[in-house]
């Protein structure tokens, strides 16, 4: 009799079965995880970054299970991440020592170590291919044959720093907190803001960065001082050894954006900077993050905090897409009881409204006559 509630369990089971059956067709081969890893690297990198776990196998499994829904895949990775024992913290990444794959600066025409274009969608004409491209076993080298391959690339901002033209944070934080091991409490320090942004939703950060550029932010122009992508060493100091050892490499994209700061009585005019770092190849994310990091440093540059992109609570509390999509989608859950309470409340208010205004209406009618 009470059909709305009973039978839910069976319906859920069927819904999940439909989900699997809808993508299976005996005529079409299922996609393999190796293919996903090789051919959808940008999806994998985004899932690893926002999922907060550098593991291409897990990311490709999640991508497959989520049927291409990136936010769903990120969620799968995050849930999995919590089941892994955390053994310790790595040493800070040294991104100057890097197996470079791409490095560009938009502020200097030439930089020591050189501009390295690497692979990019930039400058491609966005035309859909109507014919399959041939599989090629040729490999274009990142470098010319006779190039000497450098292993260390100083950051472009070092040159500004040496001329005292870059604001350097006097506060050196050797004990960064860990946002996955404690809840955020505001005001929130820069180390935690950067952690939150690094796993934050790319679309959210992109739109906020865009708003900052478009006038809902500081009136100075951000410049891409440097964007670099490459593999960097991961190092740890195991307790039993007491010295640093390298345990592997990860690919990262690092961005430093600068803009001019006109100075105050205490601080001379110089450049201000913002920092972005993302797993894998993700310049859109890393650039947006750098712009937002700069925006949130308003207090260091005596700027007024008046735009969404500057507001720590606004940015940090809303940038996580696992939290955001969960809370928006929970509105699909039953709300019968709350709705019933609102219904009763509205009916009561309507009754009062009617009593009040019915009386007034009759008075008005009388006066018109």
């Amino acid at each position: 009799m009470y059909v709305a509630v009973k039978g839910g369990e069976k319906a859920i089971e069927n819904a999940h079965r439909l989900l699997e059956e809808s993508i299976s067709d005996p005529e079409i081969k299922p996609v393999e995880e190796d293919q996903i890893k090789l051919q959808f690297p940008y999806a994998i990198d985004r899932i690893m970054a926002e999922g907060s776990l550098y593991d291409k196998d897990i990311a490709s499994k999640a991508f497959k299970k989520a049927q291409g829904d990136i936010v769903e895949a990120v969620f799968l990775v995050r849930a999995f991440r919590n089941t892994i024992k955390k053994l310790g913290y790595t040493r800070p990444l040294d991104t100057e020592k890097i197996d470079i794959k791409r490095r560009i600066s938009a502020v200097y025409k030439d930089i020591p170590g050189g501009q390295i274009l690497g692979k990019t969608f930039d400058y491609t004409h966005r035309l859909i291919d109507f014919e399959d491209s041939e599989i090629s076993d040729k490999k274009t080298d990142y470098f010319e044959q006779n190039d000497e391959i450098q292993k260390t690339f100083p950051r472009v901002t070092e040159f500004l720093k040496n001329e005292s033209l870059l604001f350097t944070d006097p506060y050196k934080n050797n004990n960064p907190k860990d946002i996955t091991n404690q809840s955020l409490e505001f005001p929130v320090s820069r180390d935690m803001r950067l952690q939150a942004a690094a796993r934050g939703d790319e679309g959210f950060l992109l739109s906020l960065a865009y708003s900052y550029q478009r006038g809902f932010g500081a009136d100075s122009h951000p410049f891409a001082a440097e964007i670099r992508t490459g593999d960097v060493d991961i190092k740890i100091i195991p307790d039993e050894l007491g010295f640093e050892i390298t345990i592997g490499k990860i690919e990262v994209t690092e961005v430093v954006m600068v803009d001019s700061f006109k100075g105050t009585n205490e601080k001379p005019p110089q450049f201000a900077s913002g920092y972005g770092l993302s797993f894998g190849k993700n310049e859109r994310k890393a650039m947006s993050m750098a712009i937002i990091d700069r925006a949130m440093r308003f207090d260091e540059f005596c700027e007024e905090n008046k735009y969404p992109s500057q507001n720590h609570e606004f940015v940090i509390s809303h940038c996580d897409n696992v939290e955001a999509s969960g809370f928006v989608s929970h509105l699909k859950l039953p709300h019968y009881v709350d709705f019933q309470s609102e219904l009763l409340s509205l009916k009561r208010l309507r009754q009062k409204h009617e009593n009040k205004f019915f009386h007034q209406d009759t008075n008005e009618v009388k006066s018109n006559v």
Binding site: M1, Y2, A4, V5, K6, G8, E9, A11, I12, F75, R78, A79, R81, N82, T83, K85, T180, N181, Q182, S183, L184, E185, F186, P187, E313, S317, V322, E323, S325, G326, F327, V328, S329, H330, L333, P334, H335, Y336, V337, D338, Q340, S341, E342, L343, L344, S345, R348, L349, K352
Partner: protein, 279 residues
């Protein structure tokens, strides 16, 4: 593959420490390092983390959503614990040692051996007046709740009553203003001097708070506009009881309505008693 009740023991320990602090300061929101669970935020992750941390192999778990054991999310959470902890589950309110709930408090009186775990979407009762946590935390510290009184004053001035229908804020132990979670105001009185421990978990917002047994819980109001609960002038059309919160159900295209108990176990028990007397 996974630890008992999913969470690893270190995470459980961290959550238990937060629970102890919450019980020691009734109504105070304790920040904790919330974990992502395999169920989405907003779907009860706070409650699931609490249950996961307090449940033992001998516990009997009941999960309700909208008062009912059969609603989709309640089924899903119950299955989650059945799978990860292999504990005994029940729909019978009396049998349960832990009751995880969303949006209701059971109609039947609970006892000292039972714990109610509430799923909380927004733990901060002042969030819609002041969205900044940095500020609301200060208001709590200073016991500065003037803005809430202004809000209900405005409500009375406009509507001649306090219109908040659910998630009606309460004072706990005469000190902290607390969100009772989105239960209907109808359920608020059940929290006052309750015999059972009440734990509240907000997973996304990473806050835990508690009302220990036998603690004063007073709904926010004015002396001349006292708190009141909804009354139904109808009876449940299944069990005939007029003692519980009733859901309104539209049964056909012309909008015919029927009223039934929101608490499915309460309704079933009433029916059994009625049938018993008929025999």
């Amino acid at each position: 593959m996974y630890n008992f009740a999913y969470l690893d023991e270190n995470s459980k320990k961290m959550i238990r420490q937060s629970i102890l602090k919450a019980v020691a300061i009734p109504g105070f929101q304790v920040p904790f390092a919330g974990r992502e669970m395999p169920l989405p935020y907003g779907w009860g992750t706070g409650g699931i983390q609490l249950t996961s941390s307090i449940i033992g192999p001998d516990d009997v778990l009941k999960v309700i959503d909208q008062g009912s054991d059969d609603t989709t999310n309640a089924v899903s959470i119950r299955k989650f614990f059945k799978k990860t902890a292999d504990i005994k589950v029940t729909t019978c309110t009396k049998e349960a040692t832990i009751i995880q709930t969303r949006h209701r408090i059971p109609e039947q009186k609970l006892n000292e051996n039972q714990i109610v775990v509430y799923q909380v979407p927004i733990p901060e009762p002042m969030q819609f007046i002041e969205p900044s946590k940095e500020k609301t935390e200060k208001y709590h510290a200073l016991e500065e709740y003037g803005s809430m009184y202004v809000k209900i004053y405005e409500d009375i001035a406009l509507n001649s009553e306090i219109t908040t229908a659910f998630d009606y804020p309460v004072f706990v132990n005469k000190r902290y203003l607390m969100s009772p979670s989105p239960i209907p105001r109808y359920d608020n009185p059940k929290m006052h001097m309750a015999e059972f421990l009440q734990l509240f978990g907000a997973g996304r917002e990473k806050r835990i708070y508690a009302v220990p047994p036998y603690t004063q819980v007073k709904s926010l109001d004015f002396n001349d506009y006292p708190f009141f609960v909804e009354s139904f002038d109808k009876k449940c059309e299944i069990c005939g009881s007029s003692l519980g919160f009733l859901d309104e159900i539209i049964t056909d295209d012309s909008g015919t309505r029927m009223y039934v108990c929101s608490d499915s176990d309460f309704c079933r028990k009433n029916l059994e008693i009625n049938n018993g007397t008929n025999n």
